[in-house]
């Protein structure tokens, strides 16, 4: 047995399968499923005996292989029409393997490019004649950095659970911003006006929740004339 050394460098079950196909010099479109299944399971057994962490995906593919193998052993069922008879149980797996192989090659293609900081380097020093480095360090940000920054902050808090974000809270913030925009422009508005023409159920709910939140925060006041009259909204504090 000489595969031990290979074990930890597989990028996943598909990678292991591709390795076995290459090692056996098999046509990927015509995999001898019994042989490959046997070798695949042997590898898994070895990984297990070496106490390597077996990701669940390896086991899923193992069961897929076993399933395909059993399907191929069965004689075609009675009364099956020709189309189904022609269906190769390996087809889906082959397609998946080909697709994966294509991206694996693409990854190697990327690695072959002249890479920044490996093959090519840009100017190392601050390039200006007079250094304009007196500004504080600036960084360019994306959404990921934003949420990561928030996660960092609340990780250091005593009661992080109070600060969990959910999509609902954010939708609410959207509506709150819209309502406050409208009020700062028009001084007053009504519930009906805020809903606009769309009678989207979610929008109605969030608009209502936003109004409640704004009242709770004492940012707006709501008045109603009569039991079924229009609900009028005003800013609590004039700007």
């Amino acid at each position: 047995m000489n595969y031990e050394i290979k074990l930890d460098i597989f990028e996943g079950p598909l990678d292991l399968l591709l390795y076995l196909i290459r090692k056996n010099e098999i046509d990927i479109c015509n995999i001898p499923i019994a042989l490959i299944t046997e070798q695949y399971l042997a590898h898994l057994g070895m990984m297990h005996s070496l106490n390597l962490d077996l990701a669940g995906e390896y086991l899923v593919l193992a069961s897929t292989l076993v399933h395909i193998k059993s399907k191929m052993l069965l004689p075609p069922a009675e009364g099956e029409d020709e189309d189904e008879e022609g269906e190769d149980p390996r087809a889906e797996l082959v397609q998946q393997l080909l697709e994966y192989q294509m991206f694996k090659e693409a990854a190697l293609g990327l690695e072959d490019r002249p890479l920044l900081e490996r093959d090519v380097f840009t100017r190392g020093a601050p390039g200006e004649a007079e250094s304009a480095a007196e500004e504080e360090a600036m960084i360019e940000v994306g959404i990921f950095e934003l949420v990561e920054a928030f996660r960092r902050i609340i990780a250091g808090l005593d009661h992080p659970e109070q600060l969990a974000i959910d999509a609902q809270k954010l939708s609410l913030a959207d509506r709150i911003n819209e309502i406050m925009d409208r009020l700062s422009e028009e001084k007053q508005t009504t519930f009906a006006e805020l809903l606009g023409e769309t009678a989207d159920r979610r929008r109605i709910v969030y608009t209502f929740l936003a109004i409640l939140e704004l009242m709770k925060l004492r940012m707006i006041r709501a008045f109603q004339v009569g039991p079924f009259g229009a609900i009028r909204l005003f800013l609590s504090v004039e700007e």
């Binding site: 990678d15 593919l61 697709e99 990854a107 100017r123 990921f144």
Partner: protein, 180 residues
Amino acid sequence: MGGGMTVMEEKVAIIEALIFASETPLTAERVMEIMPGAEKKEIVSLVGELVRQYGQRGGGICLREVAGGFQFQTRAELAPWIRKLKAVRPAMLSPAALETLAVVAYRQPLVKAEIDRIRGVDVSGALKGLLEKKIVRIVGRKDVPGKPIIYGTTRKFLEVFNLRDLSELPTLRELKDLHE
């Protein structure tokens, strides 16, 4: 402008200095903002002349088109010397990260579940590393139940892999065997 050691036209000198001083590849659009009155066509042709000059000269640096802009870089063949200067092993992406990146680059915009499916493993770790390195970014959310996050590559991806734009990615090997 003329080649060689003849004194350079002022406009070309300014563009050269701007490209040199810029932290990221400098686009013609940015040059136009800085030098009002310069037309895009003119800028592109002057930069082209600079690229040609540096190429002919065969020195240690060259001027390349990257991520839609222009950037001075050391010549790739000299990398061993520069690595010796920097005395650091290049921070390479792991094979898992490269595979994940390849899927994102060619199939973008796409959701994580699609990357998981193609690679046949959970790509959480690799994806997070790529996000942290700012090679991959969150593009938005898909308008389907659960609103999954959509990923794509960044400008930095183009810079790191020395690509003019995404269309410069080599075409994927044909999937002819796939669909009959």
